[in-house]
Amino acid sequence: MQPGERAVPADDEGSERRGLARLFPQTPPPGPFRRTFWSSPLRGPWLTSILGTILLGGVVVVATTGFLSHAAYNPSLGMNAIVDPGRDLPLTFDWPTSPSWLYAVSQGLHVNIGLATIPFLLAKLWSVIPRLFAWPPASTPAQAIERTAVALLVSSAVFLFATGVANILYWYPFKFNFVVAHYWAAAVFVAALAVHLAVKTPVILRAYRTRGALAPLRADLASTEREPEDSDGLVAEKPADPTITRRGVLAFAGGGALLLLVANAGQSIGGPLRSLAFLAPRRQVADDGPNGFPVNKTFRGAGVPEQAVGAGTYRLMLRGDGGERELSRQDLLALTQRTQSLPIACVEGWSTTQSWSGVPLSELARLVGAEEADEVFVESLQPRGVLRESTLSRDQFRDERSLLALRVNGSDLSLDHGFPARVIVPALPGVHNTKWVAAMTFRSRA
């Protein structure tokens, strides 16, 4: 509170005080509950509308790609689901294999647009902060309900951004399962956002109609004035002198968005841009060799027993309706080999395109008479962890580009990239391209 702001008379509603308003003292408590506490001349329905509109564009991309990523894991197959499939929302579908860059682009957008949206979320929340301290807190049941929805919206939004960022940076200060919490918080967010939009669209349209959608951006500092009085209490009662224009606020947030993109997006695009992404978690690679691209989980980190991958001991177990086969790596190298350039993309938003060589998965299916199987259950030598196994759909294992890769860029796979053999399927989330494959079971659903 600034000097000379005490003893401010409360909004004079006189005898008009009705409903819930009667529950609260007429005079607001001191500090932020007083309208005069908030002095920025920029706040008002128009500024909040333009920030909200930009933010909406961002969250629509992020939410859509988020739910797409959920579908990309094919949770209806085998034990793929991390979110309890019995309680899941009916939003999943058979994830396609084309275009092969589908997951790389979709998840790259999820993470990078997500990051770029953060400054607009912060600016939008700044623009409406006086509403948090509105007095009386609610004067009708409608307002009370609306504010509960806004609380859910802000809570889920901040939660989603915080947990999403923590996850891409490998920082786990929380005990809950990230996937489950992030997914369901997104459902809370979408529900709360939908009603918020329904309530606020008329307010936004009115702000654009009365002030002009972009007209306030033309004002320079000298002509930056507060917006006309509004019913939401966003406009400062005693505005300070402006220190920045409204277009300056947008440029500031936009500059932050751009900076975050430069800091991160290179790890999604790859190539020389990767090392330019100065704060991206996956900006560096071990070496320049054929296996010099980012590793999601190292051989040691995954705890794969060393003797299991030795030339004498490694066997791939194939099972299908037409029998079983056990193949050594030599046997696999003697089968049809195909080379495919395919991207591999992590849920964390980074990706890389490499040239993989190995046996087509359809060929392996044929070996055990399972061309017509519905799915294939792939198990890794990795002893523990939810992602030691995955189930691929029929479309996925029958796609001619899907391989059990043995080599990459003309060299044997490194241990960290899944030697002796790994799955690579177009448009499949990275972790479902199982490394250190021990067994593949083709099966038909009854």
Binding site: N177, A181, V188, A191, F278
Partner: protein, 153 residues
């Protein structure tokens, strides 16, 4: 109907829409709380709001107010913008910048996350330097347009 409208505060459709949204949100929240290892989820959801509205926002507003006092007038934004952008990078990337995720990072990638603090400081330096250069250039343009020259460079 009018009675309901007056008692409730707006059209009953408002109530219907909110009840629908709350039902979906409650279902979703139950799924999180029911899941294994749900220990501190509620704390996190509530904490998210508290941390933003009662810690982060007052903190940067306070810093901004202080900055406006130190660097009044034309100088304000030349301080505010690089400081704000640098703080944004820190806010997002602090687990890497401050080495909070080193162990998990190494287990997963096989590399150690090096140089993040240095690169953040470097970019911070560049942001401030860029701001200073723009300040001087625009300041001298102003000065050449109108005497007496602007102060504070």
């Amino acid at each position: 109907m009018t009675l309901l409208r007056r008692g409730y505060g707006t059209t009953p459709l408002h109530l219907v829409a909110h009840v629908a949204a709350f039902a979906l949100a409650a279902y979703a929240l139950l799924q999180i709380v029911d899941a294994r290892r749900a220990d501190n989820i509620v704390l996190w959801l509530v904490g998210a709001v508290i941390l933003h509205d009662f810690v982060l926002l007052p903190l940067y507003s306070g810093l901004d107010r202080a900055a406006r006092r130190v660097a009044a007038g034309r100088t304000t934004n030349f301080l505010r913008v690089p400081a704000g952008l640098s703080a944004l990078l820190l806010l997002v990337y602090f687990p890497l910048i401050l080495g909070r995720s080193e162990r998990t990072y190494e287990t997963l990638s096989g590399l150690s996350p090096s140089g993040y603090l240095g690169r953040w400081l470097l970019v911070t330096g560049l942001l401030f330097a860029g701001s200073a250069i723009v300040f001087v250039i625009t300041g001298s343009r102003r000065a050449s347009r109108s005497a007496p020259p602007a102060q504070g460079a």
